[in-house]
Symmetry: D2
Subunit: 305 residues, 4 copies
């Protein structure tokens, strides 16, 4: 899709179109416009007969957005600041974006958040069923994390669905039962309740290094809900191939934080290299060239000369 033809309304609707027409889509984290441009343009040829692989959309992560600001991942970075970044991303890219909405905040605030996301052109938000101080899920039970009461969370889903202005915007419920060691039955019961409340999709989260529990969840979930959007973020169980997740019934896969984690490593390495050598000659191999940087954004008449 050419950048000049993408408006907020067209982009917002794009995620639903992709989910409807493809078996499984892949989404990658982007934390600022340049990472989004790179994500948008990433392309790998798998051989002449297999075509080209690309990502289908972007993930705005509260973990990476918070980390980018040097803040802990506790919802202290406000949604407005994160949306301003998303608007900057949308000015220079075309692909749809799913926003990590943390807990969604207070139910009375959530409806404002939903409308602001829609106006900005965001396609979907994922909110998680935890309460109290939000902590990163991958910290698991090593910190205090509390599951939200099902009734409270379904009320939040309903409130959000009632507030949205456009038919295509999606509110997706993220289930933390496995993160909090509450068991598969709890996860499945919650999934049913959230879908009944109007959730457009379910994300099942896990911090295990093997995908067993998410595959089990998918099998059970798909028996009851053959067509509801089902999302995996294979951060810890990273050996499973996208095709296997697709076969298991997932239709959205989110690579949730790799762009920032790679950038951090590269910046640590390059800055230490410069200190170590007292010059940048040795650090150049870690960098793209200047001429590359000067032309990385979408071409404009101003720079075509």
């Amino acid at each position: 899709m050419h950048i000049d033809s993408v408006t907020n309304d067209i982009r917002r609707a794009r995620l639903g179109e992709l989910v409807a027409t493809r078996q499984c889509i892949r989404i990658i984290e982007a934390h600022n416009p340049i990472s989004a441009i790179i994500a948008e343009n990433a392309s790998v040829s798998l051989g002449s007969s297999l075509g080209v692989e690309e990502f289908d959309g972007l993930w705005s992560s509260s973990l990476t957005d918070s980390t980018l600001h040097g803040l802990p991942d506790i919802e202290v970075l406000d949604p407005q600041t994160r949306l301003a970044n998303i608007r900057d991303i949308f000015a220079v890219t075309t692909k749809p974006l799913i926003m990590d909405g943390d807990t969604g905040g207070k139910v009375e605030h959530f409806e404002f958040f939903v409308r602001n996301m829609e106006l900005a052109g965001v396609s979907a938000v994922i909110i998680e069923d935890k309460t109290g101080l939000k902590r990163n899920s991958l910290l698991g039970t090593t910190v205090k994390q509390v599951s939200t009461d099902v009734g409270e969370f379904t009320a939040k889903i309903r409130r959000g669905k009632a507030a949205q202005r456009t038919p295509e915007f999606m509110i997706i419920a993220r289930i933390e039962s496995l993160i909090l060691d509450l068991g598969m039955a709890d996860a499945l019961t919650r999934a049913d309740a959230y879908v009944a409340a109007g959730a457009d999709g379910i994300m099942i989260h896990s911090r295990k290094s093997n995908p067993g529990e998410v595959l089990e969840f998918a099998r059970e979930f798909r028996r009851i809900h053959p067509s509801v959007v089902l999302i995996s973020a294979p951060t810890t169980y990273n050996s499973i191939h996208a095709k296997e997740l697709q076969s298991a019934g997932f239709n959205v896969i989110i690579y949730a934080n790799h762009m920032l984690r790679a950038a951090v490593k590269a910046m640590q390495d390059v800055s230490m290299d410069i200190l170590r050598h007292g010059r940048t000659a040795e650090a150049e191999r870690r960098c793209v060239g200047l001429e590359h940087i000067l032309h990385i954004g979408p071409a404009s008449a101003s720079t075509r000369n």
Copy 2:
């Protein structure tokens, strides 16, 4: 310096203190809070008797800030947006910062820009003596770039110096004569005029791959101006060691764009790796671990538990 004791006023004054007490300081580009945190904490031990090497401060580059937004480096990214980013950087770091002020914009706007930088806690701004549409210097004479009239540029320096509220804020003139093939004499004449107009320092810019012309400039400049701040940004002539630049009379060295260039390379590599392998297992080696990310910001009571 502990983060809890740094206010805007303390930070702003810090650059002058460093320049006054050290022979040569080193500044590295940072384009967002996380890159600034990494720059601030970068540290290399050179062996027990030699102590530890660190950067002395941060450089806010218009090239990397523009590139981060997917915009060309033509002053289309406004100073207010760039200052908002700098405020976010200052919330989580302690080191002083020099801002790349491009041409400084219209002379009547420059005084507002100066005051806003001061209030934000910026220590110095570097403005370059070009006019018309600002283009990146490293494009050299391949694009249309025009040197500013000396009288106009000294007027801008004077206006800025008259507008500043704090005694310590520095306005540094960047000379583009070598970039534009105008010759050494032009560069030196301009340096004299800019210092006479009140510039607190001179940055001499070059796009050659060897440092010959900047060393010659430094030699001539230092004969007349033994104590004025003199700055080098060894981007293209990257084989010269910091100690050599120091010996040649430079007292500030700016590594101007390596953090973003390294981050871009890493993000391109990691995103292609994920597409290529259909999973992130192979990409993990390019990334810092999640537990690292979760604790990279300044410690806070909220996350100490």
Copy 3:
């Protein structure tokens, strides 16, 4: 139009629909969300058979936006800050908005500005044919103001029209010939050139207290351009009725700065009253009641209880 059904794309297109279906529309300045809400809801009944009078849209003025920030009206307030305010306005209103684009800035920057306005949902921008430091038009020839070369200005119009992403976005040329005492012939020649270059409309500006010269312009302009949008901002010639401007051929009238000027007077009066009386009892008559303030925004589920 109900607020829940307005997206950026729908709002952007709304101005063109109004212009196409009504003889003359009226636009009023709004400088923040609350002034926009008041403008949107202002309604006067002219008697049972005459129906109700309302404004058709909003005007984002660079004069009032600058004044709101305590800044002079010299384009020092950047377009991004102004657009952020417009996004806040759009979150709580439904009517279309025309943005005062000053000179449009550098031609190479203008295309980015155009695209950002479109994405935000702005319907049209008005740019004026002055060059150098922008000064408020109503200062007339008491300060240095210079007319732009026609060729330069038509190039800017063409560049903007080429850059826009949506068919409905309008770029309107504001002619300063009468402000700068350059004569009617100059104004009319420029109008022809600007329309030929693709301008979607013409705004003729005047600082006279009687409407003679703008009526003369309209008469001559309409002979050649019967259907091009023609705009008046009757700030100084304020005795002419909207119907008379409509009869003269204008189809858009902008009341350009009255909301802020009234707010300033009221705030000066109320603050002095409080000081004078040492209490607020006497000042209350100058204020709306608290219960009014608490329910002035669009109703939300959160506050309907």
Copy 4:
């Protein structure tokens, strides 16, 4: 104090200096830079021997900031957006500012909020002892409002005091006991606990139309705490003179929302006048003149010519 000599650090400390040297200071609400400029310059001469009356500082109100954005007063407007506005205010004024911090938010977020206020140059924050969805106090018991547990609130005060970077920043506890009909004893017990926890001052809030209960509170409070800052916001009990509040022991008086309430009335009146008359001639009497607007901000070299 001249604007050119005010930095964030100087301004932040100014409130404490005023409280220490004057018997009772008066603070007025400002919701954007222009209202702050008007508040700063408001001055009434009380006759040759009595000198001139002025306000001593500014109040950033969550009610008026929310209303300005067309949002309900339920903490849905985030602190970062409000602080950005305060920074804009500080760029063009000199007087110190107290920020309405609502409930202070989650305790783990509060420390970040405190540091951001300090860096911005804010002198003090007032937080109120309510929990759950924040509702405007003047709605009283007509909506659900719940008092915070004393232990929780003192923990928040302690956390904030521990987090602050500068010695002069003040955290003031606002007691809602009278608003919630919990009685005088509850209010006084809480005041003792909050002061013991480190609160730098107490604000007692009331929605009665006579000042009886706040005067009683002040009398009892001052017996135990002769020198702790004590604040009144006489919004509903508006007939009491500042001198009487001073005599009763208050040393800070906040006029909390009059600037916005007056601006709203004026904008409603002026917009209806324009519609009614079909022109602005009649509305001019409600407005300050254009030439006044053009010179209302702090003088700058750019506009002195």
